[in-house]
Symmetry: C2
Subunit: 407 residues, 2 copies
């Protein structure tokens, strides 16, 4: 498996476009279109928030309908959430506009929105944007990159990745792009992630591969503990790699799953590392768990602890907050058996052994915690299961961004 | 029922003292002693965190043992949590020192600590402090006030209250003091709260009254979603009011419960309103719930939402975040039936009706949200149950305080 340049346009047959539709942001692109030259099998995972944005409902329906999919229209600035029947109607009108411009059925168009909750989309500008993008589609890496920038909200960096691998002598490619960076606590975050592949794979296995992988990737990140109304991951497979179709869980499937995991994990980590206002990616590994669910619960409790996140911002080895967050997670373990380490590019240091502090150097710990990527490793010594979660520090800028997001 | 001056020394027979033991803070008092002239019935509720501080274990044992209780020794600066067998031994030594100085059994001494996790107590200074305080006990309101100041950590205000009411012609008093203000998400928060009363009441009813009331008061506040290792509420009743003993759930009991609720709710709100770095007390009322558990889940989800809290700091009527937090709470409701209002001393304003925004004035909303006490009221129109939770805004100062709490 090899990481290659590009994002959603890296797999064969995928094109992208973007434009400045003037939805909310000024002087930047705020709409993107992803298009496959031929119809695709689609899979999707969506927010578990009871308050679901209109585009989430639209896509859930599309993905489960069995219809093939061929395009995704995305806008940044307005979330189209809490918008009632009017919001649903705008999803339909967006799909109709795209269907007409691309000469494909409206049922094969998916939509996604991110931004402020509660405002209605300016549908005329959306429709005009769709038309403009349909006439400027390109399979270039630049077009993919521009699309990944157009969907940003408070993100500071665009986020994409592509990998390639072989199935029976045929090169298969998976590419993806996503945006963070607030209201991120996916179960599914507004996290929008779009993954394309030219792999030939059955709809059932495509859906299963995505569903399983999301548990270890997007669902293991958190910026602020707020699960968005709009979280969406869409995976399109158009089969143009020409590989023998993956119809069962054989070695080909395993290869595909491994590549998909690399794409999803990379995108998920990019989102956590670009969390609103953050200065560091904070990784938490739980080792020695009895079972995976326990490890997941512990890891997620630590990355969502405001006190721990503030300590990471302060480069403070305040390990008591980590143990505290593990303790209130709801998972069972023996606090007096826990070993804890901090690790980064600057080294690895044991902080506690069997629940109490070892004689470590605070200076050394601060050095390790001053890196842009910091890991806490807790071994609970009960078994062999493990889990990794990714978050970020809690900073002044997080507060600044969210105290006046709407203005 | 009448609110009166004072705190823990307001009920008959209770005394308090405080001193500067030099545990961590410089140039301020950091230990307090509460003492009853005669043995008391005690009740307590404690953190549900699996990682329990040594004093929590000590007190749980004391309260459930059936021993009468007569004194509480409290220190600020070091939490005595994650301190292993050595930490437990220091609880015992503290109780022994107090027992000796006060000429009471060590089993009747309770202990409480708040501060940094993982450091050991300087037991010599603790023991010296206990001795000093035992010789300076006083039933004056000033002594109670000084004690409420000595237990503060990042609190900006001391917190106390006392109320009096009558049972069969006898005046009964309940007084209390507590400290917040970070790692506050009680289930039980480090929240320490000490309530004294001269009521004569059976141990069973004392425990039940506290256990029930905690659900509506301390367990309904959150500063940061982090449930501390040290949360403790202790309630001492010495019977010196001379009322006919409360032995059953009659009108006397109802009177007592009502007064206890006023003390606990006031202390809980004071903690939320003095949350680390906060500029506003944020109250969330859920109305029209099918059952109370649902209302509690919804109210707590909103007060713990970082995004909502940051919006309150920004005086931004970002109602979508409130609906979002309700949606991911896990409680069932119909988002398209929700009515939402903001209320404060500056007025009351409807923001959404049946899940979508009404045509409200942003200017008016900002005015309402600029008060030091702000309420969001959500009516989910399913039934008649309700719940109220209290939190605070998320500010730059919260981050500042917690990025360098240990230094």
């Amino acid at each position: 498996m090899k990481e290659i340049q590009g994002g959603v346009t890296a797999p064969k047959g995928f094109q992208a476009a973007s434009c400045a539709a003037g939805i909310k942001y000024k002087e930047r692109q705020d709409m993107a279109l992803i298009y496959s030259e031929i119809p695709c099998r689609s899979a999707g995972t969506f927010t578990t928030n009871l308050v679901k944005a209109a585009p989430v409902k639209w896509d859930q329906n599309q993905v489960s309908s069995g219809h093939e999919a061929q395009a995704i229209v995305v806008n940044a600035g307005i979330a189209n959430a809490c918008t009632g029947a009017e919001g649903m109607e705008y999803c339909r009108q967006t799909a109709l506009a795209a269907g007409e411009a691309l000469k494909i059925p409206a049922e094969s168009v998916l939509v996604a929105s991110t931004g402020v909750i509660g405002m209605q989309l300016p549908i005329d500008r959306i429709a005009a944007g769709v038309k403009k993008m349909a006439s400027s589609l390109s399979s270039s890496l630049e077009a993919g990159e521009a699309a990944s920038k157009a969907i940003m909200t408070t993100d500071t960096k665009n986020k994409q990745i592509a990998v390639e691998f072989e199935i029976g002598g045929k090169t298969v490619t998976i590419g993806g792009m996503c945006k963070g960076s607030g209201m991120i606590h996916p179960n599914m975050c507004t996290m929008l992630s779009f993954v394309t592949t030219d792999a030939a794979i059955s709809k059932e296995l495509l859906m299963e591969a995505l569903k399983e992988d999301v548990k270890d990737t997007y669902n293991m990140i958190s910026v602020d503990g707020d699960t968005s109304t709009n979280d969406t991951v869409l995976l399109f497979a158009n089969g143009m790699a020409g590989n023998r179709e993956i119809r069962e869980k054989n070695e080909d499937y395993n290869q595909f799953v491994k590549a998909l995991n690399q794409v999803n994990e990379t995108l998920a980590k990019k989102m956590a590392g670009d969390g609103e206002g953050c200065t560091a990616l904070f990784e938490v590994k739980i080792l020695g768990a009895e079972h995976k669910e326990q490890a997941i619960t512990l890891a997620k409790s630590v990355i969502t602890s405001n006190l721990t996140k503030a300590a990471i911002f302060g480069h403070d080895a305040n390990w008591g907050r980590i143990l505290c967050a593990m303790g209130y997670s709801g998972a069972e373990f023996d606090p007096e058996k826990v070993d804890l380490y901090f690790e980064s590019a600057k080294g690895k240091l044991q902080i506690i052994e069997n629940g109490v502090a070892v004689d470590y150097s605070e200076e050394e710990a601060t050095k390790i915690l001053s890196c842009p990527e910091v890991t806490a490793i807790a071994d609970i010594k009960m078994g062999t299961a493990s889990a990794t979660a990714w978050g970020c520090d809690l900073t002044f800028d997080y507060v600044k961004i969210n105290a006046d997001y709407r203005s």
